[in-house]
Symmetry: D2
Subunit: 173 residues, 4 copies
Amino acid sequence: MGVDEIDVVVEHADVLQIGARNTQNYNLLRAVGQQKTKPVLLKRGMMSTMEELLMSAEYILAQGCSKVMLCERGIRTFERYTRNTFDINAIPVLKSRTHLPIIADPSHATGHWNFVESASMAAIAAGADGLMIEVHPQPEKAVSDGAQSLKPKRFSDLVSRARRVAEAVGRRV
Amino acid sequence: MGVDEIDVVVEHADVLQIGARNTQNYNLLRAVGQQKTKPVLLKRGMMSTMEELLMSAEYILAQGCSKVMLCERGIRTFERYTRNTFDINAIPVLKSRTHLPIIADPSHATGHWNFVESASMAAIAAGADGLMIEVHPQPEKAVSDGAQSLKPKRFSDLVSRARRVAEAVGRRV
Amino acid sequence: MGVDEIDVVVEHADVLQIGARNTQNYNLLRAVGQQKTKPVLLKRGMMSTMEELLMSAEYILAQGCSKVMLCERGIRTFERYTRNTFDINAIPVLKSRTHLPIIADPSHATGHWNFVESASMAAIAAGADGLMIEVHPQPEKAVSDGAQSLKPKRFSDLVSRARRVAEAVGRRV
Amino acid sequence: MGVDEIDVVVEHADVLQIGARNTQNYNLLRAVGQQKTKPVLLKRGMMSTMEELLMSAEYILAQGCSKVMLCERGIRTFERYTRNTFDINAIPVLKSRTHLPIIADPSHATGHWNFVESASMAAIAAGADGLMIEVHPQPEKAVSDGAQSLKPKRFSDLVSRARRVAEAVGRRV
């Protein structure tokens, strides 16, 4: 999404997402902050510290848009069995430093559908305020990210299980 | 623990621990594998891949010692708000590749007592077979790792909560 | 620099620079590639692989702009004595994979003026086609990056020394 | 090399090398420091900060062995075109903090023979006090590290070139 595309996205989408590669695209952050119609989901860059993520959020908030959600989607490390390393610590650490909701993206944070459920349960147990999960009826035909997409049935099971974990830590889904 | 100290440690300890800095000390791994009296807890190096951790375990197993537990204790990344980055993905990924029990060490993996509980719940929810948590009656007087140590009361609350999360994912503590 | 600012930058600048935080800002890369008046200096992201840097360059080249220079400016690692880790390997590796000129930025790659000269000599010796160095008459008053800026006299000495190293490896400054 | 093998290595070798995987094996460091016959080459761990390398050197020096050389052999990062990332900054930074000689190991730091020469020139230009390079008459038959080994002829050319670069920065090989 470029600065000149914000209007059309605002018109059609429920949430404006700033992707991991644009986390420090300050022109875009400021422009998104100038609209107050739709909430903004700001993804942590794969190369960003938590401090930088919080500073990127400030660019949006400072323009007057107060509905900002932060999204942990995994960071880049030397580990090679997974696409990214899900920084689960980010959930309690960010919650201790900001009142903004923290969303987890276990699909990107693992990169493989068969680890998405475990990572989702971990996120909820650690205190995440929401999950963002890729679902596709035929993952093997997905245009992108098929390897990390769940089929609908598996997704629905995941939601039931997430509900139980949320209750166990005193929350509700 | 050096190779020449194994006998005395076996005599007095319940478990032999190979620390993160010795994860690729092959002499020590082999020597520890030659005793079959006590189980071995092998910690992942702060910069070991999961593949390397599994290969280190092989050094012990190949000597005939079959009671080996793997421990995820956080890896080194660029993030600076935490001491290490807890690689929560390691729990389901390792479980998909080995039958060995996977233990999580949220104390080292976060480095701060106030994040230990959230990280512990995440570990259990992700499928960890056990937790290893630093507890100290007076953390501020601890010889080492005080910042990441829990007081006994807080630890006891954590165990109750862990029990509820374990049940939510169909396990028992 | 945003997409809508390209025209004015083209008018006044000698080179268009894509900064490290915009290395994967594909809208900007494409827009910059559509002008053919000025050469483009594309900086490697602080957490981009070399492969990703080459792919970002393709976004520019594919639009018809052929004057693209790649710039190694250091990557993010766990090391804390320096601002970034200068990936000197990137110079010969990139030269083996592309015909584009490779520029080194020892100011960002070290973060401290007193290491800039050594890093510059290393870059030239490794085969870099150019250096990009921050210079300031009064670094302590610089608006940004003062800690890594050289005073003019020291810069001039650096150039003389770079000339000698270049000759030693069969090149000319 | 284990603690119990030091005597036999001292008898036959010119230098005692502590490998990257043993950089924080404190028993071994202390034991090596207790002999004063042979110099010690201490390799930086692939996961060690420069500060940790200096602290590991202290373990040896504190035992009375004063002939210690530090070796930069590349650190682990997310980059995948090379085996390790050669931290060229480590050369001037370590020289600013210690009087110990700094040796570079471009073979491990790149992992590919065709980048060893450029990395070697960079190391000398940055101020390294020595190079450690793997050479094999038939690299394709090497028991280990063949991919990063030079044939003798190429090694001899490298030495000539290193001599010229050393002179260019006011030193002598």
